[in-house]
């Protein structure tokens, strides 16, 4: 705990609080010199209007995250982009998004979102950013980046007369014509082989656009092969899943696996339980983000600064129009917890959703 406080002071985050909307992740180890930080930006939904025009609102969210990430001190080791850079997967949107991201002063690892994928099945994204899934090692931590927004082949290859329609059908999260996300057998086999080379004591960070949990199928807050994925990950002592897609704060602990979601830079989503016609449940640990006020254009959006220490993530949510939030792994309870609001008595009125 002391380490975390010291870190916060040295990072000058107190001064930035309320002004900086990112998610900052810290992984900490027994030896403090092995701790490191990275930034995590997700869900910008860059949306093309025509010619050189893009939706200003979504552009501003990403531009701000990039600018603020560049101001971090100490500097993050790298940036992860969590998917949905584009809204409808077009060359114009991906090019414009890539141009905005190119202002980052750090190495950036990219993950695929469904909005990047379903127009051309990730072909142009790949030209810009490389492989759809991969792994890398950094200071003793094994990072896995997945394409977890695949779905049934029948839906992808046979259902729709045009690629454009396929993209449009998947783009509406509440569209009953959509299809559940999955990692798929091929990629799971790759992951199994990839992890076979890694010691069980090595901390693992998995970057996934879909949650690798089953939260609410109606909005695709869902990964169809979540159980198979969790079975591959649970033999490791310390697994941390970072996911996007949901545009809201969620966190959970299943066995050795800690789950944390990222905020979007574009717009927030309601929690599924607010849809009155169905039953759904948030991970019980989660203290929700605030209920968004549309009069504040950037309300309930932001990015993350992450400290990796002791093989676990501490996420600093930097929220453009709200108090910043810190969701840190509590070694005593063995789960992620909000540093301020976890206790029911500490919660504030704007966190009530209905």
């Amino acid at each position: 705990m002391t380490n975390r406080r010291d870190f916060l002071q040295s990072a000058g985050l107190a001064a930035l609080a309320g002004a900086v909307p990112l998610t900052y992740v810290r992984l900490a180890f027994a030896k403090p010199e092995q701790d490191f930080n990275f930034a995590y930006i997700s869900d910008s939904h860059i949306q093309h209007i025509k010619g050189t025009q893009f939706v200003r609102n979504w552009d501003r969210g990403l531009i701000r995250a990039v600018a603020e990430t560049n101001l971090l001190d100490p500097k993050p080791d790298f940036v992860i982009y969590g998917g949905d850079l584009a809204q409808l997967g077009t060359k114009e949107e991906l090019d414009h998004g890539a141009e905005l991201l190119s202002k980052l002063k750090y190495k950036t690892y990219m993950a695929m979102g469904e909005h990047d994928y379903y127009l051309d099945l990730g072909e142009y994204w790949s030209k810009l950013f490389g492989k759809h899934w991969y792994s890398f090692d950094h200071k003793g931590v094994h990072f896995v980046v997945l394409n977890s927004i695949l779905t049934f082949d029948d839906w992808t290859f046979k259902r729709w007369p045009t690629a454009k329609q396929r993209m449009a059908e998947m783009a509406g999260i509440d569209n009953p014509n959509g299809s559940p996300f999955m990692v798929g057998a091929k990629q799971r086999e790759w992951l199994k082989n990839d992890l076979a080379k890694v010691a069980k004591s090595t901390p693992i960070v998995v970057v996934s656009h879909s949650p690798l949990q089953k939260i609410y199928k109606g909005w695709n807050f869902w990964t169809e092969d979540a159980e198979e994925m969790q079975a591959l990950l649970k033999p490791f002592d310390s697994v941390n899943v970072l996911y996007g897609h949901v545009h809201q704060i969620q966190y959970n602990q299943i066995g050795s696996i800690a789950f944390n979601s990222a905020m979007a830079t574009a717009w927030p989503w309601p929690y599924p339980a607010t849809y009155a016609q169905v039953d759904s449940h948030l991970p019980v640990l989660t203290v929700p983000m605030n209920r968004a006020d549309p009069f504040f254009e950037r309300d309930a959006t932001g990015w993350q600064f992450i400290n990796l220490h002791s093989g676990r993530n501490d996420l600093h949510y930097n929220l453009y129009n709200n108090q910043s939030r810190v969701i840190a792994f509590n070694p005593k309870t063995g789960r992620p917890e909000d540093m301020k609001f976890q206790d029911a008595s500490a919660r504030i009125e704007p966190q009530t959703h209905y």
Partner: protein
């Protein structure tokens, strides 16, 4: 007596402005208590058709100018809380109806042109939101 006749005439004129379909006109109509299961089914179908049009508009870019749709931020109309209107909106400084908030979103995130309160599109959007929120108790004024 004469004054009363004039008032009645005005009322008829106002009624005429609503352009009621012939079957609803007071002349030769059924009595008020003479409606059947078939009537109920038809009225429900009329509502469903309008709510379905509302869902189409909700997920379509046509209300704005920048391609953004209402449903992008509000899947299944969630986080719109139609059961809490009319309510005080601090930015407006007064009590507003939900159609005014719909217009706020059309003008701002959608960068579009506000609809008239009785525009069939506005009626359809409200029908859709009310349908997605059916069963939730009315709590006007709630935040």
């Amino acid at each position: 007596m004469r004054a009363r006749t004039i008032v009645l005439a005005v009322a008829v004129a106002v009624g005429g402005a609503l352009q009621l379909p012939v079957e609803y006109s007071p002349v030769g109509a059924a009595k008020a208590d003479e409606f059947t299961k078939a009537d109920l089914d038809r009225w429900a179908a009329e509502f469903e058709a309008v709510a379905t049009e509302g869902r189409r508009l909700w997920t379509s870019p046509e209300l704005g100018t920048n391609g953004v749709a209402c449903g992008q931020c509000h899947p299944n109309g969630a986080n719109t809380h139609p059961e809490t209107y009319p309510k005080f909106q601090k930015q407006a400084g007064r009590v507003v109806a939900i159609w005014e908030m719909v217009n706020w979103c059309i003008r701002n995130p959608l960068e579009g042109k506000a609809l008239a309160a009785d525009d069939p599109k506005m009626i359809a959007i409200q029908a859709y939101l009310a349908k997605e929120r059916r069963g939730v108790k009315l709590e006007p004024g709630k935040h």
